[in-house]
């Protein structure tokens, strides 16, 4: 995954960049399966690898598929990135260990959800129960965000100009998520 990301930095041809970005998303989905997050993996594979790639390709078709010159100012950003990364890694030193069952995150509301989902909702999938039932307002807000984005896209490029509303079907699919 990191190799794919690094290749993305180097590549000039935007078509290859888009394809690699899709691959990156699929690798992320595989990683989620390994980490027991099957629902997230589904969404990432469908939305991240699928719809995002379609959107990017549509943009390429409307614009250009070749990046111009190499970035001239490489040193300063590199230094900034390395410094930020070093600070962040220093910040992880006190974090709970990977897979630690006693980490604070696992002791707050998560046990409640795991215990109550069966009796409360009768659903076997806890993620679905939390998404649609316990935290339903989050999902409502998410729908509002998608609606706003769809309206924004249509206002920006939906008018009678040459680039027609080619992303409308993708937006519909997203709303179904």
């Amino acid at each position: 995954m990191a190799v794919t990301a690094l290749a993305l930095v180097r590549l000039r041809n935007l078509f290859a960049v888009v394809m690699l970005a899709g691959m990156f998303s699929l690798l992320a989905a595989v990683l989620y399966v390994v980490l027991d997050a099957v629902d997230v993996a589904f969404t990432e594979a469908a939305v991240g690898a699928g719809i995002t790639t379609v959107l990017l390709l549509g943009t390429l078709a409307l614009t250009t598929s070749e990046e111009k010159a190499a970035p001239r100012k490489t040193l300063a950003p590199l230094l900034l990135v390395v410094a930020t990364g070093a600070v962040l890694i220093y910040g992880t030193m006190d974090m709970p260990r990977y897979g630690d069952p006693n980490a604070p995150i696992h002791r707050h509301v998560a046990p409640y959800y795991l215990e109550r989902t069966g009796p409360d909702t009768g659903l076997p999938n806890v993620v679905t129960a939390v998404l649609a039932s316990y935290r339903g307002y989050d999902t409502l807000g998410e729908v509002a965000v998608i609606f706003t984005a769809a309206v924004g896209v249509l206002v920006l490029i939906g008018r009678s100009r040459r680039p027609r509303k080619k992303r409308q079907p993708a937006d519909k699919k997203k709303a179904a998520q």
């Binding site: 990191a2 997230v40 890694i89 069952p101 939390v130 999902t139 920006l156």
Partner: protein, 117 residues
Amino acid sequence: MEFPGLYNYWIAIVLMMVGFYIVIAHDNLIKKVVGLNIFQVSVFVFYISMAKVRGGTAPILEAGIETYSNPLPHVLILTAIVVAVATTALALALVVRIRNAYGTIEDDEIEGQEDDA
């Protein structure tokens, strides 16, 4: 502090820094959007790896299984992925409009045109 079980955070940080570098070092707007996507995925990986419990399984209730991964980060990231696509779509629409207005999607060329005007 021997080599502890912190590598999941470090992977997320490396990915995040790669995305950050693409965003600030490249002039091409589409490439910046892709970099932003990598940045977002790194945050997702961070959350999902925190949700993992050693010896746990996916949070789908089944008789005879005691340990599950934490479902809450999964829910949050499900929402975040969809929102990420919404923002990506909006950003790409803006890129298309910029291309129509300036004839280029390179940041420095746009700035040059602004200076001339």
